[in-house]
Symmetry: C2
Subunit: 419 residues, 2 copies
């Protein structure tokens, strides 16, 4: 049987290590040239497949390919574009199959979160209905860490390491200054619906002596009176207080705190930012000088302080995806299965996409302390292995030497398609 080509695409918010997975897919495919021809990458994710904008990764130099392993962001471009159900978006799914057919694509590797797991499943199903031979494999990736049936999601461990490091560092800063200046520091982190990243901030304080740290989880409704009391007690005891807050914190009526209170000169609600809202509140109600930071993309792009464990898993999952496809799997995702916490041992097991697509893994209730402001030992035991090890990028001129790819597209064979 002649080798068939593979299609790889990045989906949704990018991470510090998604390119590690990309490199692993490409390199593993190269090791099986008798079964896999070229790996074609979708320019800007699945939109690249719809538009037949396919990047020929066989033209990447060995140097560029190696460089991908330490370059954050999505080197082939990603997209926020959700394919709806087969009924509504049937033409889109059929177009995908047409493009795959035109370029003899027999392997579909889709690297993303919950939505893309769903898309991957539907593509697999439609291919089967259309008698088009395709092995569709989803590869997990999301800093939100909310996919089921995998111990964690690549990208999350590096964000966890970044936020815990950053808040530990900022804690030392505010502790130094609290006598005469800033008393409260607030760090706003990602995770609108699930508090995984907020929980990771809790790793910064391993003992009470490492500083007072209040976590505000999106899973808990914000209780203003209780919060003010907690901060006041912290400042009374330690002289200062450090707070990590999820961008998705909501008030008692379910409204995002970031959308309350602040308006521009025209009365429009302010764009995001729960940290400044809390700072305003503490200043007004307790008269405490506050500083605040919003990490935003810095947290998920921080390849300079990636977790070596995260990098290893992003690599292993890319490799496993190709191997699963070669072994005949279809409609599955390689998932990380945890064998033990300490030492952290894990292996990769295939999981059925039907059980994954559109399911979210919430932060377990027993990972949040009874008072709602810190993490439990069970949470710490879960998180700690994920941030182990440093995987530093090479530096040039004092800065990380990240690669940038020139996207060379293969010749189009089909008429255009209106996405």
């Amino acid at each position: 049987m002649l080798p068939r080509n593979a299609f790889y695409a990045q989906s949704g918010g990018v991470t510090a290590v998604i390119n590690v997975t990309a490199a692993a897919v490409i390199e593993t495919a190269h090791q099986h040239r008798q079964q896999i021809g070229k790996v074609l990458a979708g320019q800007n994710g699945i939109i690249g497949a719809l538009n037949e904008a396919l990047i020929d990764t066989s033209l990447l130099s060995a140097e560029k390919l190696a460089g991908l392993r330490h370059t954050p962001g999505g080197a082939f471009g990603s997209c926020r574009y959700k394919l709806k159900d087969l009924q509504q978006h049937r033409a889109h799914y059929q177009r995908l199959i047409e493009v795959f057919r035109a370029h003899d694509i027999g392997y579909f590797f889709y690297n993303g979160g919950g939505d893309s797991a769903d898309t991957c499943l539907k593509v697999s199903q439609l291919a089967s209905q259309m008698d088009y031979p395709l092995r569709a494999i989803h590869i997990p990736k999301t800093v939100d860490n909310d996919l089921p049936l995998t111990d964690n999601c690549p990208g999350f461990g590096s964000v966890a390491k970044y936020v815990a490091t950053s808040i530990r560092e900022a804690s030392l800063d505010v502790a130094s200054m609290a006598k005469t200046s800033t008393k409260v520091f607030i760090l706003e982190v990602m995770g609108r619906h699930a508090g995984w990243i907020t929980a990771a901030c809790g790793l910064a304080s391993e003992t009470p002596e490492q500083g007072p740290l209040l976590l505000l989880f999106p899973e808990r409704r914000f209780d203003q009176a209780d919060f003010l009391q907690k901060v006041q007690a912290c400042v009374a005891q330690y002289g200062y207080c450090v707070i990590a807050v999820s961008e998705g914190l909501r008030d008692n009526e379910g409204r995002f705190l970031s959308e309350t209170g602040l308006t521009d000169a025209f009365g429009h609600a302010q764009l995001g930012g729960v940290a400044p809202v809390l700072a305003q509140l503490l200043q007004a109600q307790l008269g405490l000088k506050c500083h605040w930071a919003v990490a935003d993309y810095l947290q998920r792009a921080a390849r300079h302080i990636a977790s070596a464990t995260d990098v290893a898993q992003a690599d292993a999952l890319g490799k496993a995806a190709v191997e699963l496809a070669l072994a005949g799997h279809n409609g599955v995702m390689p998932g990380i299965f945890r064998l033990s916490d300490a030492p952290y041992r894990w292996e990769i097991r295939p999981q059925e996409l039907e059980q994954i697509a559109n399911m979210e893994k919430p932060l377990p209730a027993d990972f949040i302390s009874a008072d709602g402001y810190s993490i439990t030992p069970a949470c710490r035991a879960y998180l700690t292995p994920l941030i182990q090890g440093e995987d530093y990028p090479p530096y040039k001129n004092g800065l990380p030497h990240y690669v940038q790819l020139n996207h060379t597209l293969v010749a189009k064979k089909l008429p255009p398609f209106e996405v």
Copy 2:
């Protein structure tokens, strides 16, 4: 002659490397036990001297002392407390001399920015007037990089490395997503009066291919129409735009942009944050999806990505301060003198405090490009050496292993003093 004790204090905003200087002062003093007895550190800076809260650094273990070299923040506590002129604050200056006399302090090392250089000079002058033998040495430190007569200020190089790395990483993120999502990313950085840190962001883009980067300097008044045009042109050409903005950006009437436009529900101005103001503007005027980050303390506490050059200079200046004092200098500051850009060669020269105190070193006009939105080659040549080399802290449990000191104070000998 019997050895006399030394006093060391940290002043103003702390940095990622001020503890490197502290360790160098203590260790260099230890190497000269015949001349210097104990090094007593002010708890919370100069306030510690006024309150006679003196930390006995001779009790620090070798392990803790070594740990100081990779721990950000001010390990002895710092303060924002400016001593006014001798007329207004004479009692305070006299109190300092009394405390020094009570603890046989013959050496005064003050580690800070412009204000503390001024205080150091005044203490030196008053000691002389009071016939109290004292050698007062100022040691430069400020992320603002605004001290004259030194090539740069310890702390700045590490912030520069952090912000340039962070914005380079975030640029890759937004470049990946711009097709269907965020088109503009804005990073707000410190430097209310001088654009040194904003300029450092410019290092992230070494070639036009490394991404479009607009810098908004506090030295230039914000021209809204021009800015909107620039962003629009960027997005048209590259598909996205990345912006670094100084917290101190002002509008045409001289008002901080962070204080315009946004108010809380009660009509109070929002606490800080020029990045969200710009995001709001771009969203409203150009309909562009924006993300923004405010680095705040994260930038000046980021010891995990400190510049090795910065660490080396923080160390050398601490050592030089002690050596200058031993050589009989008084009322001076060891300054870094640049011998060449590439290779970067520098040496330390004593500078008179009279020429330093309360002087600010502005960003030279020829460091900003003609259009006002980027740095010139001269600026790049100045900045590049300062971010060279990585000086990683040790890690434990996946996080930087920073030390925390137990402050053991020497017994008080004087009645209390009302600060």
